[in-house]
Structures are given as C-alpha cells and as structure tokens.
C-alpha cells in the first residue's frame, strides 16, 4: 500500500469528510470519535485550514455526535499545532456552546475551559475573551448560560480594562431576564468570586449575591446558598456580619422548603466558612429551626448534619451547646413521623457519643439509641447497627446487647431481602465486638438459617459471612460449630441446599486448612458426585477444582482424580465440561 510513506495527500479531505457525513448516525458517531485519527492523517496545517472550518460549518447534527465532537475538540491542541494555534479551536466550540442540548453545551464549556489554559495571555485577550463576550450577549439563553462558566477561567490572566468588562458582563447575566441564565450565573458566583480581587468581591459580588438570594424564583435563591460558602470563605471575619449574614439568615427562613433544604444540606460548609463566633450566635438557633422544620425533607437534611455540626462547634462551648440546644431537638427527631428523618438521624447519632464522652452517652444518648433500635422502620435499626463501632469505643457494646439482640433477630428475618443482606454484612463486625460466647449462644443459629434462605443473594452472602467468621474465630471453632451443620445439608432433599453445602466448602476450605478439608469436607464432596441433579454434579466438579490446591497430591491422585474422570464421562454436557476443566486446571490428566 502506498500509505507506507505516510504521505498527507493520500487521504483527500473529501473522503474523510464523507465519513463524517455518513448517513448512518452510528457510523458518523464512530468517525467523530476517531476525529484525532483523521486530524493526524491530515497534518496540523490541513487540520486548521480544512477540517476545522468544515466542522464549524456543519454543526447541525444529532446531539450525540455533537457531544462527541465537543469532547474531542478539548484534546485537540497538539493536533492543530500546539498552544500557538489553539485559538483555531474556538469557532467550532463557540457554536457548540450555543446549542440547545444541555449535555452538549456543558461539554463544550468544559473543553473551552480546558483549552483556555493553553492560550497565551495575549491570545486570551485577542481570541478567547471576545468569544466569552459574544456568548454573554447572545440572543438565545443557551449561549448566555454557557458564558457563565467561562468568566472565571479568563479573568485572572487579562488586563484590568478587560477585567472591568468581564465583571460588567457577569453583572448583566446575574440580572438576566430568563431564570435559566440567572441560575447558571448563581451557580458560578462562588467560583467567580474566588478569582476576583477582594475589593471587587466586596463591591460587586456581595450585591449580586444579595440580589440572587432574594430572586423571585426559589430555584435561583437556593443556588445563592451554595455561593454563600465560597463568598464567606473569602471575606475577612469582621465583614461577614454586615455583608453575608443578613442574607444567610433570610435563606435559613426562606418560605420555600427547597432553599431551607439547601441551607441544611450545606450547613457544615457554612459553619466552617463563617467561623466559631457567628456559629454560636446565629447558626445554632438556625440549626435548631431546621431540625424542627415543617417539611420532612429539610429535617432529614439537617439531621444528616447533626454529628458534623456538633463536631465542628468551638471546643470551649461545645458540650453546653449540644446539651442545651441540640440534644432536645435530636430527642424529638427520634420519634419523628417521617422515616427518612429518623433514618438520617440514625446514620449519624452514634457519632455523638465520641463527642460527648462516656457519662453523657450513657445518660442521654443510650436511651435514644435503644429507642431507635426498636424503631418500626428497618432502615433506622440498620443504620444504628452499622455504626456500632463508634459507641463501642466509648461505652462498650455490652451496654446495648440486651436491646441489640432482638433488633438483630428481627432484621435477620425481615421480609425485604435487601434488609437481610445488609444485616449479614455487619455480622463479622458484631461477632468481633460481642465475642465468641455471645455469638455462639445467640447469633450462630441466625447465620446458619441464612444458608437456607429462599433468595440466592442471601445464601451467597451467608456463605461469605461464614468465611469471615472463621477468619475471626479460627479453624477449631469452625470445626466444632459450623462445619458439621454445613455438611449436614449435603443430605437435604432440596438440591439448592445441597449446592449451598458445596458453595460453603468452596469458601471455607482455605480458611479451615488442609486437615479439616481432607478429613471432613472432601468425603462429602466426593459422595455428592453421585447426586441425581446435574447442577449439583457439575458444582462438585467446580468445588474439586476450587479445593484442589488445599489438598495434597496423593489425595488428589487417589481420590479426586477417579471422581473427576467419572464426571468427565457424565451424560450431561455441562457436567462434562466442568469436570474436564477441573482435570486440566488441577493438572490431573
């Protein structure tokens, strides 16, 4: 082929463009995804003079193709000849930043942000900044929303006159007529504030922030809450009270629950940003209100933050604030009417014990833990159990064991298999903390019952759980307590249970070691090779393959090999297959 010399003219642009124009969308998409290959074939100069103009002109395609294109162009700098020529990529990306579809636009903006760093300061002013201005004053809202994401990347590297223009454009977009643009501007307000000089943060950003935070649409107002975190971080402490706090107080009491939800959701960030003094005076009462909000969504979001909020309180007054202000609200939430609120609280409440110490935990928190352990909603109980380790460190788990057991038993028998699955996952942890005696007495039977659950996922998890228990309690314990029960199931009339025996052996053999495996498990497996159900037989083959490495070679030759050979001649095709596989893996042929 003539291509050997890598001649540029080998592939006329027309042929390549035909590929990009193919009628079949899928083929077009494939071609666009390999745009770099095409560009490479054309060389940098023809990519700049022929390919890019073509791409700029024909941006009327399926959104999926446009998305791929927008992504590709972000990595095109080398293919057009390096940073010197990177501005050639701006025209197609500018068009892509104005299309209707959000994902395409966002990707175009992402690529523009990426290549903005590859522009020299001069190119940034000559090529990039005018593009931002054009987008910012575009007719349709799409281009103006895209512009919002580009201010912060060019602002730091342009002259002060251009900076003033950029600030003006941003101001305009913050008071844009369409709420879509105001939302875009509000969501970029924090990012933009970070690159501005402090004097402009105070003069420009604060007024924009105040205006957006009192917008007529709650979807705009709630975005201002996010910006509040960044802005508060940038300002010196003494200015926060006058510049930020009035707006924040207003947001925490907004008439729309969405805004209050946002405040609750960002509470830890806000707390860090405004510092300890304001936290004590303002955020504590605000947090109390959010915990008592009339909408469950808001209460749940606030409940999620209880631990983090308490943790970050100033040390000198932490305990007093928690005991007098936060704990009363928490107590009420324990008996909330909404299960999401209770379950959010249950996922963090245990963390309070480390903050409050042993005595307070026993006196004040323990009753709450116990109440939540008895909650009607399984998620609440589960969340408490999954965080037991926090309490264990402070007061020891024994304090809870009386209430813990009924809760565990009930979850273990819950009608929802996902709940059962979740509690199984905590078994090794619980076993470790409660000790082997307690376990044998109370929990062992549960673990065995899961092995015959009617949902496969539970049986599988139960098998895995046994392995972890053996790792914790040792092989001897395994031999005495669980191996006999597991092997007993080999005679069960239900073939699913017989298979569970095999799965358990697969999982346990390594942890139990050679002796137990050879003496106790292997005979059972070999015997099961005569099972009348083919599924059991091929699982015997799989099991032998799995436990083979644990056995010694004499035993393999004398006992395993004949059985596998017999199975390899089975009439069932799957049994044959797995037997043959085991023979070859164990090198018994």
């Amino acid at each position: 082929m003539a291509g050997a010399d890598g001649d540029d003219s080998l592939y006329p642009i027309a042929v390549l463009i035909d590929e990009l124009r193919n009628e079949d969308v899928q083929l077009r998409l494939n071609s666009i995804k390999k745009l770099s290959t095409i560009a490479l074939a054309l060389g940098v100069e023809r990519t700049r003079t022929e390919l890019l103009p073509f791409l700029t002109d024909t941006i009327y395609d399926e959104d999926e193709v446009l998305l791929a294109l927008a992504e590709q162009l972000g990595n095109f700098t080398m293919l057009v000849g390096g940073p010197e020529y990177v501005h050639c990529l701006l025209p197609p990306l500018e068009s892509l930043a104005t299309v209707e579809e959000t994902v395409v636009r966002d990707k175009a903006v992402e690529s523009l942000r990426k290549i903005s760093h590859e522009h020299s300061p001069v190119d940034l002013e000559v090529h990039f900044e005018p593009l931002v201005k054009r987008l910012a004053s575009g007719d349709w809202f799409t281009s103006r929303t895209s512009a919002c994401g580009l201010f912060s990347v060019c602002y730091p590297r342009v002259s002060s006159t251009v900076k003033a223009e950029i600030r003006q454009h941003f101001r305009n977009l913050c008071s844009d007529d369409t709420p879509m643009v105001r939302r875009a501007a509000a969501s970029k307000l924090g990012e933009f504030a970070k690159v501005l000089e402090l004097e402009y943060v105070k003069s420009d950003i604060i007024s924009l922030f105040t205006a957006l935070a009192s917008d007529e649409q709650d979807s705009v107002r709630l975005l201002a809450v996010e910006a509040c975190v960044s802005i508060a971080t940038l300002l010196p402490q003494e200015d926060l009270e006058t510049l930020v706090m009035p707006t924040l107080r207003q947001a925490a009491e907004d008439k729309s629950w969405r805004v209050r939800y946002m405040v609750a959701d960002k509470f830890s960030e806000l707390q860090k940003a405004v510092g300890p003094e304001i936290t004590k005076n303002d955020l504590v009462p605000a947090f109390q209100n959010l915990l008592k909000d009339c909408e469950a969504e808001v209460r749940a979001a606030a409940a999620n933050k209880v631990k983090e909020f308490c943790e970050n309180l100033p040390e000198d007054s932490r305990e007093t604030i928690i005991m007098t202000h936060i704990l009363p609200c928490v107590k009420e939430l324990v008996s909330d009417t909404n299960q999401h609120v209770k379950s959010a609280l249950a996922s963090v409440i245990m963390g309070l014990s480390t903050i409050l110490g042993k005595d307070n935990t026993i006196e004040h928190l323990l009753p709450l833990f116990l109440a939540q352990l008895k909650d009607e909603c399984p998620e609440v109980r589960l969340n408490i159990i999954s965080n037991l380790d926090c309490v264990n460190e402070v007061i020891g788990i024994r304090q809870l064991s009386q209430s813990l057991l009924p809760a565990i038993v009930e979850l273990a028998e819950d009608a929802k298999w996902r709940v059962r699955l979740a509690i199984i996952e905590y078994m090794p942890l619980l076993a470790g903390q409660l000790g082997v005696e307690f376990f044998d007495e109370k929990l062992n039977s549960l673990c065995m019952a899961w092995l015959v659950d009617h949902v496969y996922a539970i049986r599988e998890a139960a098998t895995c759980n046994l392995t972890k228990l053996v790792e914790k309690f040792g092989a001897e314990w395994a031999q005495n307590t669980i191996v006999p029960k597991v092997l007993g199931m080999a005679n069960d009339p239900n073939y699913l249970h017989r298979m569970t025996t095999l799965f358990c052996i697969n999982a346990l053999s390594e942890a139990c070691g050679q002796e137990i495996t050879t003496k106790h498990m292997l005979p059972v497996v070999l015997k099961m090779s005569n099972d009348q159900v083919a599924n059991v037989r091929f699982n015997v083959a799989k099991s032998l393959q799995k436990i083979g490495p644990v056995l010694d070679s004499n035993c393999l030759q004398a006992e395993v090999k004949p059985v596998l050979e017999k199975l390899a001649a089975d009439q069932d095709i799957d049994v044959k297959y797995f037997a043959q596989e085991a023979v070859s893996v164990l090198a018994l042929a």
Partner: protein
C-alpha cells in the same frame, strides 16, 4: 428568637407508616407498585401553614343576602378578610368550627359574585385579590414520591382542598362576572401575581390544575397587557422542564391553553411565535414523560401548521432530529403525530420533506418491535397520504423499497409481513415499471453496499496504521527533545549545585 408556629409533631390524622407486609410480599422483597400506592394515598398540606403567626378565632358574620344594600359592600369586604385566615387540614379535627365558618363565607362569596350584579366595586378588587393570593399562593410541598410517575401512581391530593376549591371557584366567578373590569383588575393582577399563578401548575393535584387552566385562560383573555408576559413565562417553564428538571406536573394544562392561543395568532406569524415552535414545542418531544401531554402537544403543532404552512419543514425536520432511538412507545407516538401532520400537509410542503421523512419511515418499518412497524405501515391505509405517495412515487419508492423487500422476508411477525405485501402490491400497481427495475437491481445494490462497507473498513485500517506510525515518531521526537532539554538543564544546574554545596 421566636420560632414560628408549626404543626404538632404528630397529628391524629397522619398515619404512622407501619411496615406490616402482606404475606404475598414475603416471597421477595421488592416493593410492589400496589403497596407503594397504598401508602401514598394520603393528602398533603403545603408549607404555608407554618407562616401564620397566630390562629385567629373566627366569628360568623351576618349572611350577605340578608344585608341591607348600604352595608353590602362592607360586609363583603369583611367576609373577604375573614377568608384570609388559613387552617391546618392535616389535622382534620383541629378548629372544625373555624373551618366551617370560612367554608360558609366562601360559599356565600362565590354565590354572590356569580349571581348578583353590582357587587364588584373598585375597593373590593384589592381585597379580593389579596384573599385569593393568601389562599392559593404557597410553596408546593415536596413530592411524597420522588420518582412520581403520573401514569402509574396516584397523585398526592391537596389537603386543604375543601377551602382551596372554593377560593378557586370564587376567583373564576370573579373573572367571569359581567361586572369584571380589566382596567381595575390589572393593578392587582400583575406580573408577579401571574408568575406565582404559573408556578402552581406544578401541583400534583389534578383538580387544582384544572381550575388553574381555566383561570389562566380567562386572565389571558381579559388582561391584554399580560399576554406577552404569560407566554414568556410559560416558555421559561417549558425550557426549564426540557433542559433542567424534566419535572413539571402542569405541562399538559399549559399546552392546552397554548393550543387555543395559537389559534388566535395573527398572520404572518411573528418571529417570537416561530421561535416558540422551533425552540420550545419541538424540543418538548424529547421529554421522558411525553405520553402525558403528547395529545396536547401534537394539537399545538398541528395548529401551527394550519396557521402557516411554511413552518411544516421546521416541524418535520425537528421531529426527525429528536426521533426516539430506544423508546418504542414514544416512537409510536411520533408516528401518530406524523400522521396527524401529513393529514393536513400541503403537497408543496410534502415534497420538501419527503426524503428525510421516508428514510425514517423505512427505518420504522424495519423495527423489530411490531407495533412500531405496524404504525408506520398504517400510513398506507390513509387515503390522503397514499395520494401524496403516489404523486411522488419516483422519489419515495426507491427510498423504501430495499427495506420493504428485506423486511418482507425476515420479519418475525406475520401481521407485519402481510401488511408489507399489501404495501408492495400498492406500489406495484402505482408504478410497475419502477417496481420491476428496483426488484431487478436489488441484488446489485446490496453488492455495492457491501463493497462500500469493505472500502470503509480498509480506509480506517489505513488511517489507524498511519496514526500508530505518527504517534511513534511523535513519541520519539518528544523523547529526544526531552533528553536534549534535560541535558541542557543538567549542564546549567551543575555549576549551581556545586555552588550550593560549597555554601
């Protein structure tokens, strides 16, 4: 700091959501739709209640019909003020007396504004609008079910409906009253008012949306100064729905209003209206929940076409652009809409779109989903469409022939196969010469296609080989360059290093 009054933590009416699972559930743990629905069937009150500072005790006022004429307006006013008090409906036994007084007062107001003349005098306008605003404008509560499916799930009903309904009824009668004076109302029913009214269309309660629809329609009809603003805000709601949230309960109702608005557009269409069609109505077809408002949407689209045939091409090309790729249910809806459009298309417009359109129709015919194929093939049962096809047989037949020929041999569904035979027969009768030519050249075309396929594979293979070589040489070049730079740097650094060592 005083905390606002709030709902008591547990009111008797709020059911405790127990987890008693019916025994049928125990088979597997997946929540059944039926169960979820049962739990959802509870009503919801909005957040507004919390903002009432303190509960006022209502005392019954004299009846309006008994009032002497001189005191009538004063009494009417007092009743309006009385109706500004809000009640907690989640707690169904709270303040029953107060609720009853307000209900009776609202009934009287409705009755009075609907039947007696001369009641609506200027001073009553601000009071009436205030009463309406206080009652209906509220932040809608969070949805009980975050993935609420309007087709499957029961909507959450507004708890305060017994009062709210009467307020809406009053508002409607107020707007429809022969005494209603737009010039007076426009001072109070302003842009801010309309914006809040539009936001209520997101209510999950269909009864509320129904009232809102009629009311907004009246407002649009009577307050001319608000028309452009209303259209713009509806645009914004739709755009937000399409590109941001994909969630808004009142799309169908708003489209219904727009349907009749479009009907009244003046000709030639303003560019604002065309933009609305192309940039809002057409993209609305991409919504996941299209089935809920498709009928209303298709009506609007057809209205546009009937107004001005020149928009046909925009519409068809737009639909083709957003043609569903994976959702066959939506594909059937699109085909339905295309048929509605073709029913009223002008032949001259048809010619402009026939090529891309019939390529898509051919693609639908070869869909393995028989409902899609069937819906597309039904076009040939439509006489008007058939006449258009016949007129343009020379163009259309070559576009669909290959598909029909292939699908007739391989479709799994017998109904489709027989429908295709009928279509082929129709074509044969239309133009037997062309039909025979296409049959004869079918194999050759297939061969050509395969050849193109091979050429393409060859081209890409070559390109990729070349890329590999280039990347290799580029890699080498950059390595060389790096080495060079490193060597330079080392030679520069050495004296410095040695200098540093000496200090």
């Amino acid at each position: 700091m005083e905390t606002p009054t709030k709902l008591p933590p547990s009111s008797p009416s709020s059911p405790t959501t127990g987890f008693s699972v019916p025994s049928a559930e125990k088979v597997d743990g997946f929540p059944r739709r039926s169960m979820r629905r049962a739990r959802q069937r509870r009503s919801h009150s909005s957040s507004q209640f919390r903002y009432q500072s303190s509960q006022v005790e209502l005392t019954p006022l004299p009846l309006i019909k008994d009032a002497p004429v001189a005191e009538l307006h004063d009494l009417f006013c007092k009743k309006l003020q009385q109706c500004c008090v809000l009640f907690d409906f989640l707690d169904c036994v709270a303040d029953l007396k107060g609720k009853e007084i307000k209900r009776a007062a609202l009934n009287e107001l409705v009755e009075s504004v609907a039947t007696s003349r001369g009641v609506l005098i200027e001073p009553l306008y601000p009071e009436a609008i205030k009463m309406i605003s206080v009652n209906i404008f509220r932040t809608l509560p969070p949805s009980e079910n975050p993935d609420f499916d309007p087709e499957e799930d029961e909507p959450t009903l507004e708890a305060s409906w017994p009062h709210l309904q009467l307020v809406y009824e009053f508002f409607l009668r107020f707007l429809e009253s022969p005494d209603f004076q737009p010039s007076m109302a426009k001072r109070y029913v302003d842009q801010k008012f309309v914006l809040q009214l539009l936001e209520l269309f997101d209510s999950e309660d269909p009864r509320e949306r129904e009232y809102l629809k009629t009311i907004l329609h009246r407002v649009y009809g009577k307050l001319l100064g608000l028309r452009a603003y209303i259209r713009k805000q509806i645009n914004n709601i739709f755009l937000r729905f399409i590109y941001e949230t994909e969630h808004f309960n009142g799309v169908a109702e708003l489209l219904e209003i727009l349907g009749s608005i479009i009907n009244g557009f003046a000709l030639p269409l303003k560019s604002e209206h065309k933009q609305f069609l192309v940039r809002v109505l057409i993209p609305l077809h991409t919504a996941k929940s299209l089935s809920i408002f498709h009928a209303q949407l298709a009506y609007c689209v057809v209205q546009f076409m009937e107004k001005d045939a020149t928009v046909t091409e925009y519409i068809i090309r737009g639909l083709l652009k957003y043609w569903p790729k994976t959702c066959t249910q939506k594909e059937v809806m699109f085909l339905g809409e295309i048929e509605e459009i073709l029913d009223v298309i002008e032949p001259s417009q048809f010619i402009r779109v026939q090529e891309p359109l019939f390529k898509q129709i051919a693609a639908c015919i070869s869909s393995p989903h028989f409902q899609v194929a069937e819906r597309a093939l039904y076009f040939w049962n439509n006489e008007y469409i058939l006449s258009l096809i016949e007129e343009n047989c020379q163009v259309i037949l070559p576009l669909v022939f290959g598909t029909l020929y292939r699908v007739s041999k391989e479709h799994w569904n017998q109904t489709i196969v027989s429908l295709i035979y009928n279509v082929l027969k129709t074509f044969m009768e239309m133009n037997s010469k062309l039909f025979d030519d296409l049959t004869a050249s079918y194999k050759v075309e297939k061969q050509k296609e395969l050849k193109r396929e091979r050429e393409r594979a060859e081209l890409w293979r070559g390109l990729e080989e070349q890329q590999e070589r280039r990347l290799q040489s580029l890699g080498e070049a950059s390595r060389n360059q790096k080495n060079l730079q490193e060597r330079e740097k080392n030679s520069k650094n050495e004296p410095e290093n040695s200098a540093a060592n000496t200090t």
